[in-house]
Symmetry: C3
């Protein structure tokens, strides 16, 4: 595995999952693996879990990490080719990526969707240009269209908590006061499609995700119907893909409640966090013993460590 | 010692002080103590000494540290129960604290008083909720009402410089152009009360500190009178507690001067820093050989290291 | 070598250069050298290469590093003597430098020219006061008038790429939409004067650098003439020194183009980065195989490591 920008970079998913499970047993089993290696975590946007869990994952394998909030302490980057750089952008990604690639062995990048221009967001230019110009493995710490470290975490967590071989997993849209990207939802669907779970998506009409992600997955427009017999309720807000970046409804009809949870097969409640209480979900659900959002978030550290170990191992193998 | 949120968490003060004295002799004597352990330092507010000295203390015992300026790179946190989170706060402390507690072994928190609502500040909600929801030892890096790492530092420093068994220690209010919290003063008094020093507080009428801190300590309203025969002058500004958060006077009458220092028993001058020259104190005092503000600040590293060692030792003891 | 604030601190340049060359061979040869030692990198201004390369250099010799963006997370510093600090500056450099010096073994400082007051900028007060009050070795990470880590990097790079013993090296001014300091240019000239290269400066009239830097170096006002037979074109913008901090011309006449490069002796193109494409230089030059801006930037890590090793070695020698 050279990069970890989406599920499509994963060459052996069951081996990656096995690595994660081994890490849960013995987190420090490879504490010298990152010796003399360094990673730069580049944040264009805010982060709590990703920032902290990825640093902790690296620490557990002795991988030196430097965090760089590039908008706060660095330069505004240009991503267009051929421009006359007379504006507010002081450096082109061609140079920035090559220089960071010269200093570090692995590069992690968080860059959110702008939600203004769908084509631009879905082109994944930032990740793509860092892969092209840095010459080093790139890890997606959430990009405009995907959040694969989160999705891998979700897979680890469902594997850990599932009671049946093929659980029914429901991705349920929920309301939110601000327009959010589709990244977590897209990526969740993409990863779940690699399993033999019974995956169902439910959202109000108008919130259809991009077809390249959802093709083949049943969409149910009635939330109650979707919740029937569910083993996992995975809740997430996203703004519209068709009417791009728009909020189509804000009322609390789609909030997850105790009443709705009663329709399920005593389902586990999941969310990637941060979560707005009493907007996305009632306090009563989040504070119940069916909520697994904290062990899910804790697994972010495990997912990141499995990805880092796999990338380092691939590098070592290539160097032999 | 499970937490270090105030003096009340310290189970054995003389052992803690002894640990500090040992650290001054051999700072790297326990350089493997923090192996495979991690600390998160969470800053809601600005910091120089606390930020740098706590990181250095951790470094000396091999404790991995991650600094997180949560307002700059993270999410705005909600601390109220039961709210419908439709505003600018993206995450509730219940989740944030639990997640950070899942990633780290120790959590340090700096959160200043807002100085708008006394009841809210004195409820110490942030520290209290991190203790409750993180499940990990919490260190107070200055909270609305206390700054115990500073006060412990002050104790170490006075022990180091005192010439008599029971020195006269004067906490003297000083003017400042901005409204400052009572945290350092409250905490200093709370710690000094654990000693048999002769403690006196002096400030203009109206600047009385909260009774729960000062009960039993003599207050002298005439600064000159208080300074007589003092061995240590500990200066600090604070805004009013009764007329909460207000500045009642700004003139330089209460500034510490060479003239006033002559009234003392050749006293040492102390301040927690940062200090405004020629507002809090004359240059001549701060630049004299009686000022010990720099060795005092240097002891912040020692105090933090003693606290970290004691917390780690308690954790190891519990795990046996 | 006690400090590294300019070339004048370098006691043995050829030894320093040799150290850099050894580091290129075996970067981790001294990976325990920094054991139990710590460095604070203090940023008053934005940085990408300096921030990342200096941390990486320290990592390679086991030197613990703490990065501190003082304006973001710390206090606004006062640098004037004798002021009554009633304004927005909470701490005097006398205390800040002494405290940081008490916590760390080496201090790196980045502080840009304000470009308002020439005398103030050229007094180099920040660096000078940190040297005076910290009591610890100070490394210049770019100050108002100099950027010696960059200039040492440039020397390493020219030594690496030169085809003749005494190459012709041209420092060529280039246009830029914002007023930039003279630091890189000043410093480059100061370092090149230590070599026996054939150094030529070219810029439009009015952009003369300070005489204390350029004395004895030929200035050619016709860029084409200067480029003739050049082995290295080192491009950089700076604002005027005489009409201090002003932009005198912005048109693209002085941009480096393929056409102009044809006048040279197949010269290498160098720049300290960040670089504005199609303003400072045409894409075609920067993307050609004559451009060495990326290996040049990569050498920042080597230069910083050589400086750190030399300073640590001096400290060890003094302690024997």
């Amino acid at each position: 595995m050279n990069n970890f920008t989406s599920i499509h970079d994963v060459t052996d998913l069951s081996a990656l999952l096995q690595t994660a499970q081994d890490i849960k047993e013995l987190p420090f089993a490879h504490e010298q693996m990152g010796r003399q290696q360094s990673m730069c975590l580049l944040f264009f946007n805010a982060s709590l879990r990703t920032r902290l869990s990825t640093q902790q994952a690296a620490f557990r394998i002795g991988l030196h990490t430097v965090v760089f909030d590039i908008n706060a302490g660095g330069w505004n980057l240009e991503f267009e080719d051929g421009t006359v750089m007379k504006g507010d952008k002081a450096e082109h990604v061609k140079e920035a990526a090559a220089v960071i690639g010269a200093y570090f062995d692995i590069i992690g990048i968080r860059t959110f969707a702008g939600l203004k221009d769908r084509e631009e967001d879905y082109a994944e230019r930032v990740i793509e240009q860092f892969v092209r110009y840095s010459g080093k493995p790139v890890i997606n710490l959430e990009s405009p269209t995907r959040h694969p470290l989160q999705s891998f975490t979700d897979l680890i967590t469902i594997e850990e908590y599932k009671q049946v071989e093929k659980p029914k997993v429901v991705l349920s849209w929920a309301p939110h006061p601000r327009a959010l990207p589709q990244a977590v939802a897209n990526s969740f669907v993409e990863w779940m499609k690699q399993t033999d779970y019974n995956l169902v998506i439910t959202h109000p009409p108008g919130y259809e995700l991009a077809k390249q992600f959802t093709e083949g997955v049943p969409v149910v427009y009635k939330q109650m119907e979707a919740f029937a017999d569910a083993d996992f309720i995975y809740t997430k807000n996203w703004s519209a893909y068709d009417d791009y970046g728009k909020i189509l409804q804000e009322d609390s009809d789609w909030m997850v409640t105790q009443e709705k949870m009663k329709l399920t097969n005593n389902a586990r409640f999941m969310h990637c966090l941060p979560i707005r209480r009493n907007v996305i979900v009632e306090d009563a659900v989040l504070d119940s013993d069916r909520s697994i959002v904290i062990p899910q978030a804790a697994n972010r550290m495990v997912a990141a460590q499995a990805v880092l170990q796999t990338i380092l191992q691939s590098t070592f193998d290539r160097e032999l």
